[in-house]
């Protein structure tokens, strides 16, 4: 399946920009840099097969808001406003749809939780409309009569990450893709000068952008310990029989007895149901996870039981301690920033939504900017934490 892609013939001085990682974030950054006229290469042995392969593609700045995550909300909202322009040249290829999101409460306590959240969302100027159950069911007749409440978020849209990957790869062209694993950063004195690949060859670049998600943990030569951890998710893809179409027209996000679940309908008559959040260290699909997702999705839309379950996938999201990305330059020990290096990873649940913002921030940094309003997301903000040290005996902590 992997067709051979020849190494791009590089100008003598190497590339302008080497992007490590060909997921949605890396390809989005590369595309924006290429459109700005830079010579870009993307390094990835298997583009689009990591977290991007699993992602549902909800562009849900409003419904992804969590209490006290205001800084992240700002970046999500910024990226949501960038999405239409980002998607426009990709036309319909990427499956970008401006369908709304309905947040559904499974029972009275779930309704209270969503209403409490809405009060804070509205205080932040976000638009969340309360619907009666009958109003919601008039719009989406397949919703269960047993739901307890509904809220509409018109601003939360969707894209199909797999089609987005294909569209971005096509735009970038195979000559810009190096199907190799980046093993380590190359240093030239105090600056990063490119990467060494797993075949021992060196790829020189003026700027290297580390955008390979959790893979950044295995990239040698980084000047800062990145506090990334795998947060696994199970996600399901189902085909809707002709007679049941459309199952739903909006993205349906629900709370069912406090458990979150979502259904994202695609144009092709399929629906994506997700997603669990596990830190159990297992990259295999969890049977319990599949069961819980189907159970809770069926509580919202009973006809889910009649769909064809054609794919179950588990992938790890690159989690960070504060759920926000690691984005920007890294401080040099001697002062100032390390030259030639930009980090763009740790997007956790929000990689697809945050891709245009990541691309914008990287372009601005490439053009000499300092990250401006997005300094709070600098990758070295956690410096001083003991992350990365091997686990010894958690029972016997410092005080005992």
């Amino acid at each position: 399946m992997d067709e051979y892609s020849p190494r791009a013939p590089l100008p003598g001085s190497g590339a302008d920009v080497a992007v490590v990682g060909g997921g949605v974030v890396g390809l989005g950054i590369a595309w924006e840099a290429a459109r700005a006229g830079r010579h870009v290469v993307v390094i990835d042995p298997a583009p689009g097969t990591g977290a991007s392969f699993a992602a549902a593609g909800m562009l849900a700045a409003v419904s992804e808001y969590h209490y006290q995550e205001e800084a992240l909300l700002g970046l999500m909202l910024e990226s949501a406003t960038l999405w239409p322009a980002f998607a426009q040249p990709l036309a319909a290829e990427a499956g970008y749809l401006r369908t709304p999101t309905l947040c559904i409460a499974g029972d009275g306590a779930d309704r209270q939780a969503l209403a409490d959240l809405r009060a804070v969302q509205e205080a932040h100027g976000l638009e969340v409309t309360s619907l009666t159950v009958r109003e919601a069911r008039a719009r989406e007749p397949m919703l269960s009569p047993g739901i307890a409440g509904a809220f509409e978020i018109a601003a939360d849209h969707q894209v199909d990450p797999r089609r987005l990957i294909a569209a971005l790869l096509a735009r970038l062209g195979s000559e810009r893709l190096v199907r190799r694993r980046a093993e380590s950063l190359l240093w030239d004195g105090a600056r990063v000068a490119g990467v060494r690949l797993d075949d021992g060859s060196e790829l020189l670049a003026q700027e290297t952008i580390v955008a390979n998600g959790l893979g950044a943990r295995d990239l040698a030569g980084l000047p800062v310990q990145l506090p990334l951890r795998p947060v696994y998710g199970d996600i399901l893809r189902l085909r809707i029989p002709q007679r049941l179409r459309p199952l739903v027209t909006a993205t349906v996000r629900g709370l069912v007895r406090g458990r979150p679940v979502y259904l994202v309908p695609r144009e092709d008559g399929t629906v994506v149901i997700g997603a669990t959040q596990r830190e159990d260290g297992s990259d295999a699909v969890s049977a319990g996870g599949v069961y819980e997702l189907l159970r809770d999705a069926q509580a919202l839309v009973p006809a889910v039981a009649e769909l064809e379950l054609y794919e179950t996938v588990a992938r790890a999201r690159p989690g960070t301690p504060d759920n926000a990305p690691l984005l920007g330059r890294v401080s040099a020990p001697e002062g100032g920033d390390v030259e030639g290096l930009i980090v763009a990873t740790g997007f956790f649940r929000h990689g697809v939504l945050l891709t245009p913002a990541a691309a914008r921030v990287c372009r601005e940094v490439l053009e000499g900017g300092n990250g401006g309003a997005w300094k709070p997301f600098r990758p070295d903000r956690f410096a001083g934490l003991g992350n990365g040290r091997p686990i010894s005996h958690p029972l016997h902590g410092r005080s005992s």
Partner: protein, 271 residues
Amino acid sequence: MGLPTDHRGADALAVEDPFVVDGVALGSRLIMGTGGAPSLDGLGDALDASGTELTTVAMRRFSAAEQGSLFQLLLDKGIRVLPNTAGCFTARDAVLTAELAREALETDWVKLEVIADETTLLPDPIELADATEQLVSRGFKVFAYTNDDPVLARRLEQLGAVAVMPLGAPIGTGLGILNPHNIELIVARAGVPVVLDAGIGTASDAALAMELGCDAVLLASAVTRAQDPVRMAAAFRHAVVAGRLAAHAGRIPRREHALASSPMEGRAQFL
């Protein structure tokens, strides 16, 4: 009971009135679970604010092998881990999970949870007694999460549990203490520490648990799912101390009729 009553605050009180379980003295009578935390940083801040020295982690949900994980956070903070068997429905399951925890964390402490069904998440008393017996014979120190049933709690102690942990209400409900009388009965007959576990919604629930005579309170969702977990954790830190003090301060009797706080002059005082 020689509880300190000065004004040095919760921390000073905790040092002089430690919570002793299995021979280990802990400075806080609040045990915080880790489930439901929105972020690792947020959890860390809440743990700090709670003042807890002991925390439970679901062994089936968190890998101890992962760098930068929850376990690393607890290690950095010097907080003891009490592994739990959340998600187990049979004694066999629970025993296997406890063995996994002992190997991964090098502790023989285990909070034993054997759940009867997904709707109530109530403990299954028969499997619970069976698992307690097996784990005790394998050398574990069992903290038994149990129904608010005085008979079962007594039986678990007889089987060798080092602490009994009756629920206030089903897990995650935040309904508070539904049967205070049973909790009092459990406390009155217990020879091991009693920890009120599950169902706590807000600070007054924890204070009540301590007033009923419990030795400690365990909670997770009430903090991790609160809108401001740090503030709620601080509230519980104070509530547990307040309840502990009140429990041993000799409360006034409940009366049908009013009684002025300044007694009428010239009359003899009986009390």
